[in-house]
Structure formats: C-alpha cells, structure tokens
C-alpha cells in the first residue's frame, strides 16, 4: 500500500468497467483513448522501488567522498595498470612457477574440503529443514539459524576463527563452512520439498522408516540436483578461498596474490596469478552453468 492511492483506484475501475466501456472490451480513458497501461498494485510498487533505487543511488553518488585524486588521471592510471596486468603477466622473482601452482592447488583443496564437509552437514540439516520430511518447528529453527550464519560475511567468520583456533587450514575451512552449509541447506531443502508427496506417502504406508523414506524415495530422485548444487557451491567456495587466503592469511594462491599486490607492488606477478585464478574459475563456471541447465532449471 505504499503507492499512490490513485494508481490502485484506476486499476480497479478499469477492471470493473472493462467490459462495458470499450468497443471490444478495451479499457478507455475519459478522453476516449484506449488505455494501454493499467496501473496495477504490483506495477505501482515496481515504480516505487525503481524510484527509491534512483534516489538512493543519486544521493550516494553526490555525498560520496571521492578522495583527493583527480578523477580522469586516476582513471587513466587504473586502466593503464589493468592493461599492463592483463598483457604482461610474468614472474618477478618473488615466487617461482611451482610455488604459484602449489598455491592454486592449496586453494582448490581448501574449497574442495569445505564443499565436502559442508555437503555432509547440509544433507542432514537439509532433511530436517524440509517441511515434508520434518516438522514445522525444527524446520523453522534451522532456517533461522542458517539466515543468521549467512548474515555474517564469510571473511569475518574466517577472521574470528583464525584468532579463536589459530591460523591454519582448520580456521579457513571452518570459517568458509558457515556460508557453504547455509547455502546448501537452502538448496537441498528446497529440492527435497519438491519431491512428490505421493511417493513419500506410499513409502510411509508400506511401513518404511524415516531413513528408508529418505534413501529410497528422496535421494534417488534428487541426487543429480544435489550434486549440481554442490558443484555450484564448489565454484563459489574457490572464489571465497582465494579472497579469504588474501585477508586472513589462510594460505593458498590468494595469499600470494595479496603479497604480490600489496607488499611487492609487482603488477606482472599479479597478472600471472590473476590468469591462473581466471583459468580455474572459468572452467568451473562453464561446468556449473552446464550442470544447472541440465539438472536444476526444469521447464
């Protein structure tokens, strides 16, 4: 009800008087023109949202602190740096190629480990969080906890745990786990809820236990979808592992990228590391898109 009231009235009037008004049931304005756009409630809310976006954006851009640098000069320098980074990747003597490749594998292994542990935890929680396999109370409690876990940025989870349990792969994996689990629980439980109720009822009626219902009714139908979601999360986890390595010192190629950029100021080395990350990320992205198209988007 946030829109102007006239919009709602016009819509209602158009609907009520629609058939009687125009020659072929068209909605007519007072001047006799055929109305092409009728303001419905959802249209009015859409305009309100769009104008709010515009207002906030303009306000933000006007009040923003642009620093003391002149904009065109800084922009030119940034573009020049970007071009140098992308066209002249190379080693600057701080890392050797095997170092960097090993860092890449460390990041991949961290992502894989997080995805794997996260998938196991999320499978159990996802079963408990889906309404057709669990009761409403448990499902809601899990959903609330997951949304709180999601509200804390990944990087803060990792920073907090790297102090609480010490720097190392444990802190990185545990910190990355929260968002993985929250994401996968949502994905899994939504796909479990799509399982045909008749199948579950048939299994329950023939005396199947809860685990039998899960493993004979739910899992066989949804295993492809689950694996696709897990792979998509693996892609996200790789990106996160790189970012987390940079800030929390959790190791991997992200940390090397951070050192090359912020300590050695070696733009060629940054370029090389960026290319390695890009190569892995693009391959993962292509596979994830294919999996999503094949198993998740059904139409």
């Amino acid at each position: 009800m946030t829109g102007e009231p006239s919009g709602g009235r016009a819509g209602d009037a158009g609907v009520l008087a629609g058939a009687a008004d125009g020659p072929n049931g068209a909605r007519m304005a007072r001047s006799g023109k055929i109305k092409v756009h009728v303001a419905s409630k959802s249209n009015v809310s859409l305009y309100v949202v769009l104008s709010a976006f515009v207002l906030v954006t303009v306000f933000a851009l006007v009040t923003m602190d642009y620093g003391k640098v002149s904009f065109p000069a800084a922009m030119a320098a940034a573009v020049e740096d970007f071009v140098t980074m992308m066209t002249q990747p190379g080693l600057g003597g701080h890392f050797t190629l095997p170092d960097v490749i090993e860092g890449l594998f460390v990041s991949l292994a961290l992502a894989l480990l997080t995805t794997f542990i996260g998938a196991v935890i999320a499978f159990v929680l996802g079963l408990l969080a889906s309404c057709n396999l669990s009761n409403k109370g448990v499902s809601n409690v899990i959903k609330v906890f997951m949304s709180v876990a999601r509200a804390v940025p990944t990087i803060l989870w990792v920073l907090v745990f790297s102090v609480a349990i010490g720097l190392g792969p444990e802190a990185a994996v545990v910190g990355l786990l929260f968002h993985s689990v929250a994401y996968l629980v949502k994905a899994y439980s939504e796909s479990f809820e799509e399982v045909d109720a008749g199948v579950l009822e048939a299994l329950r009626a023939s005396g199947a236990s809860w685990w039998q219902v899960v493993f004979q009714g739910v899992v066989p139908e949804k295993v492809n979808e689950m694996l696709s979601w897990t792979f998509i999360r693996f892609e996200i986890n790789f990106v996160n592992a790189v970012a987390v390595g940079a800030v929390a010192g959790a190791g991997g190629i992200g940390y090397q990228l951070f050192l090359a950029g912020s300590f050695y100021y070696d733009i060629n080395e940054v370029g090389l590391i960026v290319y390695l990350c890009l190569a892995v990320a693009v391959v993962l992205e292509v596979v994830a898109t294919k999996l999503r198209k094949r198993y998740i988007v059904q139409r």
Binding site: K41, S45, L46, V49, L50, F53, V54, V56, T57, A60, L61, T63, M64, D65, Y66, G67, K68, V69, A74, A77, A78, D81, F105, V106, A109, L112, L113, F116, I117, V148, A151, V152, P153, T154, I155, L156, L159, V160, A164, I165, G168, P169, E170, V173, V174, V219, P220, V239, V242, A243, A246, V247, G251, G254, L257, G261, C277, L278, V282, E285
Partner: protein, 286 residues
C-alpha cells in the same frame, strides 16, 4: 568378451547376467547396481576429500574439537561492552556509507549490465560478435579476484569511499550481466516476434517488449546484489580501507574485540533487515 567367457562369479556375475532375465520379470540386480553406484561415488568423494585434507594439512579431529572452543571464545570475547557503545558514533556513519555504496554500486552496475545484456542476448541482441564479446567480458569481470581489483584501484584512486564503491561496481557488473543475459534469453519470444512483424524499430522492441517482460526479474536480481554487496563490502573494505570493513579491521587488529563484536552485530542486523525488506519487495512486485 573374454571376461564373459571366464564366467565371473559373485557380484560381478549378478551385474553381467541382467540380459539373460526375460523382459518384464523382476530384475533384482537393478537395486544392487544402484546401491553399488552410490557407494562407489561416495567412496570417491571421501577419498578426494581425504586427499585434499592431507594436502593442506587439515586435521579433521582437531577441527571438530576446536569448533566449540571457537564459539566459546567468540561468546566471551566478542560481547559488546558498555564502553564499546561509545564507539557507535564512529561505526554508524561507516555503516551508512557502506549501505549507500552497496546500493549505488548495484544500481549503476545494473544499468550498464542491462545495456550489455540486451545487446549481447541471443534472442533480442544485435547479433554479430556481440553475444560472444559480452559473455567474455562478463566472465572476465566476474572471475578476476576482488583482491586484484582492490589492488589496482587502491593504487590509483588511493584510500577513498569511491575506491570501495568502484571495486564493488566492477564485480557486480560481471555478475549481473550474466544473470540478466540468462533472464532475457529465458523470456518468451512471442511479444518480440509480434512487434518485429508489426515493423517496430529495435528501440521500440526493447522499450515495449524486452524491458516490461524482464523488469521484475531485474529488480529481483538487483535486490539480491544489494544484499551480496553489503556482505562483500566487508571484504572490500578491509582490502581498500573504506567503510565498515575498515572499522572492523582497525578494532580487530588492535585487539578491541568488544568493539569488533559490536561492528559484527551491526552488520548482522543490517544484512537481516536487508533480506527482510527485499523479500517483502519481491512479494509485492511479483
């Protein structure tokens, strides 16, 4: 073929002789094969997990034992104390500027991404090399690590709010272009074809068919992007020294965990509020 001649026994025989069962009769090996496939996949995944665990030196038992301790540490150290409340007047402006930067970067990136997505779409695009070029650019911007963007921008724009905004803008642009491309390509082609048959110009087709049909999913994606950006602003803030991420980093690195906890609490509240608002808006516009 040689294996069949050897007449394997046991499990393998059960698997191989399924052809011999007459059509329509009960074939018990179906469930056996399915179970074996699932078990094999599970074993492979466990092995892969164990391999990567040993590669990075991840101690599984230690990690499980550490987690409760970590939570206990968090619960005792990260509780905002009374004195930390006085820092609220330093935290709230940073929080405000972070929210504004997130909204502004999502919206400006959305405008640019939408233009690119329409031009590069396979269904309503201008054709030629555009679909490929737009997809490549989107993938490039999305997959270059945000650390690298932060480094390049910090180098030339120095430490200002604009640097954080611009880093968020670049990653959002790549992500939104991909999402918009998908939603435009999934649109039904009928209205576009009808307009084309009527002789509408390209601009008219876009204004009368493409935008009206995709605007709700665009708004939905922008809302999602704002949520994501508020969360990512923390990382970008730590890297570029702007907004709420910088405030957190300062107190975290000077061991003022009570103030850091307060910052954390503020971020949680803002993210949850943002999620509730965008769910409400989504329900209204759909």
């Amino acid at each position: 073929m040689t294996e069949r001649a050897l007449r394997p026994t046991g499990l393998l025989a059960g698997l191989r002789t399924r052809r011999a069962v007459p059509r329509g009769s009960y074939d018990g090996s179906f469930f056996l094969r399915r179970t074996l496939a699932v078990v094999a996949a599970a074993i492979m995944l466990v092995a892969l997990g164990a391999l990567s665990g040993t590669y990075v030196g991840f101690d599984f038992v230690q990690a499980i034992l550490d987690v409760p301790g970590g939570f206990a540490w968090m619960a005792t150290q990260f509780v905002p104390s009374f004195s930390s409340l006085q820092k609220l007047d330093a935290i709230l402006p940073a929080l405000g500027s972070t929210i504004l930067a997130s909204v502004a970067s999502s919206c400006t990136a959305a405008v640019l991404a939408y233009i690119c997505a329409v031009l590069g779409s396979r269904a309503v695009g201008v054709g030629g090399p555009f679909p490929l070029v737009v997809r490549a650019i989107a993938s490039l911007f999305r997959n270059i690590p945000v650390v690298a963007w932060a480094f390049i921008l910090l180098f030339s724009f120095k430490q200002s709010e604009f640097t954080g905004f611009f880093a968020l803008f670049l990653t959002s642009f790549g992500y939104l272009t991909r999402c918009f491309l998908e939603s435009i390509d999934e649109m039904s082609a009928g209205p576009v074809e009808a307009l084309r048959a009527c002789g509408a110009s390209y601009g008219q087709i876009v204004a009368q068919a493409v935008i009206p049909m995709s605007i709700t999913s665009v708004v939905s994606w922008v809302l999602y992007m704002i949520e994501t950006n508020i969360r990512d602003a923390t990382l970008v803030g730590i890297l570029t020294g702007t907004g709420i991420g910088f405030v957190f980093d300062v107190y975290y690195k000077s061991f003022r965990y009570d103030v850091a906890g307060l910052v954390l609490l503020c971020i949680i509240l803002v993210v949850i509020a943002c999620e509730l608002v965008s769910n409400f808006v989504r329900r209204r516009i759909l």
